[in-house]
Structure formats: structure tokens, C-alpha cells
Symmetry: C2
Subunit: 345 residues, 2 copies
């Protein structure tokens, strides 16, 4: 019988989660032939799993409310993934079909009828003829976050300047490339000198800097001499505070994520918020899940740009589900380069 | 010859300005008959002067940039006022006409041709048959700030809950009354128990509390049991931080002013900004000056409501220009009740 390695949620972390302590590998076997499926259920073999910062937010006490439910102690961790159906009791799915939606951090997942409804973009996977893993990044939730946030809130106009934090990350690299297509000056911050090279040479950013070794305030002064019109914020905290100081009148701040704050015991207080009214700044948060009805138009435009060679996408692919816990820690600490994906089989 | 008492800007304050030290009374005489006017200039006798929080922002070093120019040391302070033309070298103005625009903190002002262009709403003063002083409040810049901020950014919908800070102030009392007309639940914070009575009994707010003697967090929990959909922010700082904690998904924060921060040596850091993206909150600043082209539609709708008895407006009128400095300090410390106006003659 094939093995089914899985990662369970063991305990609630205080700061960063620790491999083995908060996330633990468990190995069982699975009897596919005799696996029992209720009406509407499917059994899938997992190919790729996406690891994302929001997962840290789910590692909390379940009585703390948030926009996503908490993981329960003892449960197999979950996230979005691409899988192949190996057994089906659902009319929509045949054995061999793609399933894309919520899967466990495991080799095989039993997807119950109610979870099947989290499914997204299944059909497009074969239709567009792009690599499977791209549906977890460039053409998945991170890419769509970039697209929706930049277009709806950022309202980019040719000739404007955009600053993107975590610019080589899953979302940031897409924001920057769309902004370049639209004729903006694009500046990004990142956590490593090799990423600067990627942003400037591969993605043609107009400038990038390492926020760990540079003074963000000085770098923004130097690289955004005409101020910032759009700040695409993936990190929050001090970077947000400094960026506000460089905003032009009528600037837009796209609040996409605040990764610097997810593991913080006390949240950073943003002092420059006082500049918001005099500069007529707009700060707006969004969740990509509110915009899934626009998935098709997003795919159409993005696949077109991708096929024209206007979009590149860096993935950091880790092999084996047993390596997923350390990979998530790397996502949270910035020790990765591009979109973090686990190749399960 | 008539006297022309005026208040000059004497020195830049560190915290709150001090009467006599930073603002000083000077008495001269004025020879109206022989007063020389260049082409386009007018000489006016001042009736009413508006005192507003933004004036503190102009009491700074001129090399600190802001949306309004700094006052120069030694100059007569200025602000919006209603006056009557007593001598004119401008075709548009006859002796006896109203002038409404930038005037000095003084009894007579020489309005140079370039300043005449700051003029607003002159014609409406006689057209609408409402008290002169209302054009500095209900129908002036504070009333228009309320109207524009609430409608354009707040996007009020019947049945929603709005929380207004500095709710009995020049702007807040108008926001609350328009929100009541539009069918919202209206909650306000203020600095004095007598103001609570005014808000609840005269203006029919659904609830009000004294932020100085109550715990804002507990009061918001009690008075906004369904959360806050619109926060109209006149104060910033800790109140903004606490209010964010009570915002509903898709809430709007109208950043109109941050009076708690104008005299602060270090700005308060807003920690709950991290809630913005998960709750899809919009925070937007605005300056009423960007919307003066909508003055006429604003006046039409407001005067209609006023004549129907749907709008009341509390003014705190101080007599004599010599009392203006203390009155401004009272504006900044909340020791006033309603819109602060100086009756000059």
C-alpha cells in the first residue's frame, strides 16, 4: 500500500513556528482501492502545494476571530494545491481530472463534498497550456492579488512611481511586471542582494534595494526623486511608516499584507498616518477571495502577457511534503526566492 | 480716526500656543479716506472671523512643507471671515458689498488683488437669507468638509452605524445631522457632559460619550453593538486606533483632521492599522479646498434642509478681536462648544 505522509498542526506558536514543535510529520498508509467516499467526495493525489504567509494567521486559538478559520490542533494542515483525482464519488470529477482547491499538507487527500466547493480554475489548467505550478503563483492567488490590488486600488497611470515591498515575493514580482507593462517607474525592496539583481536585470525594475542592509528612507529619497504615487504594501510596520513619508498628494496605498507583523508580539504603531489627510492619501485593504468572479478576465489578460514573454515568474520549489514545515518558516522569515511551492509528487 | 486692533504672529510655539507669547495684540489707527489701494485691491471692515484647528499647523517654521503656507513671524494672523467692503479699487466690488475670504485677525483688512481671489460664496450670503456667521460654519468650510467627507468617502447607507469624534465640533455636528437625515445610527464622542446632552437631545444622536471620563473601547462596544461602518475622524491618535478595532468589514474611515496630534511633540503610532487589509477597510484623507467647484450644490441641499428645520448649528461666538488668541487656544484644547467664531464688529 502507498504511504501517505502528512504534516499535522501540533501546537500554537508564540512567534515564528518551529518545525517538529508546532508542525509535525506523521506517516500512515493509504488503501486507495478500499477507500470509502461519501456522496460528492473525491480522493486526490497531490502534485503541488502553495505555502503562503496567511497560514501563520491560521495558527492561532480558534476563539480569536479572523477572516480565515484557525487550524485545529491535531489536524492535517491545509492550503491551496494542484492534484489529480484518483477516486471519485462526484459526478463532476473523473479519475485523472485535475482538482485545484484546498488540499492537505499530505500525499493523498480525501476531499469531502463541502470542501470540493473551494475548487477554483480547474478547467483552465489544461486550457491555457502553462506549467501546473503557475496556477499556484503567477496565475493563482498571488498573481490575482497583484492584479486586483494594483488595478482596483492602485489605479496606476503611465509615468507614475510605484514602490513595492517584498518585491521579489509571490505577489510583488507580479505587481512590478504589470506596473512596467503599464508604463510606471517601479522600485522594490527585498531582503537579499541576489534578489536585487533578479528584479533589476530579469524583471527590469527601475531600482531595488535590500532593506536589511540599506536605510529605507534614504533609498526611497534616492530612487523615488519625484515621490511615490502607489505603495503596494506586503509588509506593513516600519516600511509602511517610512513609505507614507514619501507619498505624493493623492497617492494610493494598496494594503495587501503585513508580513512583518504576523509574528510580532506587539504591533508596530504607524506614526505617519497623520499625513493621510493633508496629502489626500487613500489606504485600502482587500482580500482576493472577494474578486474570484473576475478570475477568467484575469487569466485571459495574464496568459496573453505571459505568452508574449512580458511576464516571468520565479518559483522556489521544495521537493517532498516532509520539507514543507521548514519551507513555511522560510516564507515567514524571507529566506526564499520567489513563490514558495512544495512539489509533493 | 478709527482704531485697527490686530493680532500678530509673534513666535513659533512648541506645544500649544500661548497668548501674548506666540500671538500678540497690536493697536494702530487707520485712515480710511486716504488709504491707498493698488489696482484690484479692496479695503474691508471685518464682521466675523472663523477660528480653526488648521491654524496651529501654520504656526511652524516656513521650511517645513505642508498643504498650507506657514505664518511669517511678525505678520498679522489670517483666516476666513465675512466682511463688508469700505473702499474699493476692484470692479467686482462696490462699497457695501460682502466679501468672504481670507482676512486678517484685525478690525480692517487691506485685501490685495491676489488675495481677493481666495474669495468664496460672496453672492450666496444675501441670496439664501441665513445669518452671516453661518457662512463660516454650517454653510462654510466646516459644513462643506462634513458634507464632502461623509458623502464622497463615507458613502453612507441607510441602517449603517457611524462613529464621529469631536462630534459637537464645527464639522462633527454637521456630519451627525446629515447622517441622521440619511438614516444611519449615529454615535459621537465629545469632551464634556453638557455636549453629550446637546448631541443626544438637540441633534438626536443615538448615543454620545465623554472620551475624557469614559473608556472609548468599552463605550464603542456598548453603543455600536453591530460594529462601525463609517468612522469620521477629526482627532486621530489613540481614538483612531481604538475605532479601527471596532470597524466592520468594508468600513470607511474619513480622515478629516487629527487635532489630537497637532500639538504633540511625537505622533501617536497607530497599531491597529494591521486590521485594514483583512477587514478590507478604506482610509482616505481629503481637503475641502479640492471640492470648491461643488459649493453651489452643497449650498442648495444644505439650505433646503436648514429651512426645513433638519439642521441646527451651535456656534461659540467670542466678541472682540482681542479675545481671538485665547479662543484659538480653546479650539485646540476642546474648551469650546460648537463652531468657534470671533465677532469683530
Amino acid at each position: 500500500m502507498p504511504s501517505n505522509k502528512s504534516i499535522i498542526f501540533k501546537a500554537i506558536p508564540d512567534g515564528y513556528p518551529v518545525v517538529g514543535e508546532h508542525m509535525k510529520l506523521v506517516t500512515k498508509e493509504i488503501d486507495i482501492e478500499n477507500f470509502s467516499l461519501a456522496d460528492g467526495d473525491i480522493l486526490v493525489k497531490n502534485h503541488y502545494l502553495s505555502l503562503d504567509p496567511y497560514m501563520r494567521g491560521k495558527m492561532r486559538h480558534s476563539d480569536v476571530k479572523s477572516y480565515l478559520p484557525a487550524y485545529e490542533i491535531g489536524q492535517v494542515l491545509n492550503g491551496f494545491g494542484v492534484a489529480i483525482v484518483v477516486k471519485s464519488n462526484n459526478k463532476k470529477y473523473q479519475v485523472g481530472d485535475y482538482y485545484m482547491g484546498l488540499i492537505g499538507w499530505e500525499e493523498y487527500s480525501h476531499i469531502t463534498a463541502n470542501v470540493v466547493s473551494t475548487e477554483i480554475l480547474t478547467k483552465e489548467i489544461s486550457k491555457y497550456k502553462v506549467p501546473e505550478s503557475h496556477f499556484l503563483g503567477l496565475l493563482g492567488i498571488p498573481g490575482m492579488s497583484a492584479y486586483v490590488g494594483l488595478n482596483k486600488i492602485g489605479q496606476p497611470k503611465k509615468g507614475e512611481t510605484i514602490f513595492i515591498s517584498a518585491a521579489s515575493g509571490a505577489v510583488g514580482q507580479v505587481v512590478g511586471q504589470i506596473a512596467k507593462i503599464k508604463g510606471l517607474r517601479v522600485i522594490g525592496s527585498t531582503s537579499d542582494d541576489s534578489k536585487i539583481k533578479y528584479l533589476e536585470e530579469e524583471l527590469k525594475f527601475d531600482g531595488a534595494f535590500n532593506y536589511k542592509t540599506c536605510n529605507t528612507d534614504e533609498k526611497l529619497k534616492e530612487l523615488c526623486p519625484n515621490g511615490i504615487d502607489i505603495y503596494f504594501d506586503n509588509v506593513g510596520g516600519e516600511t509602511l511608516d517610512i513609505a507614507i513619508n514619501h507619498l505624493n498628494n493623492f497617492a494610493r496605498v494598496v494594503a495587501c499584507g503585513m508580513i512583518s507583523q504576523y509574528n510580532a508580539k506587539e504591533h508596530y504603531g504607524v506614526k505617519n498616518i497623520i499625513q493621510v489627510f493633508a496629502k489626500r492619501v487613500l489606504i485600502q485593504g482587500f482580500l482576493v477571495g472577494d474578486h474570484f468572479q473576475e478570475m477568467e478576465s484575469f487569466h485571459k489578460e495574464m496568459v496573453e502577457w505571459f505568452k508574449q514573454g512580458k511576464l516571468k515568474y520565479k518559483e522556489d520549489i521544495v521537493e517532498g511534503i516532509q520539507n514543507a514545515p521548514q519551507a513555511l518558516v522560510n516564507v515567514l522569515t524571507g529566506k526564499k526566492f520567489g513563490k514558495m511551492i512544495v512539489k509533493i509528487c
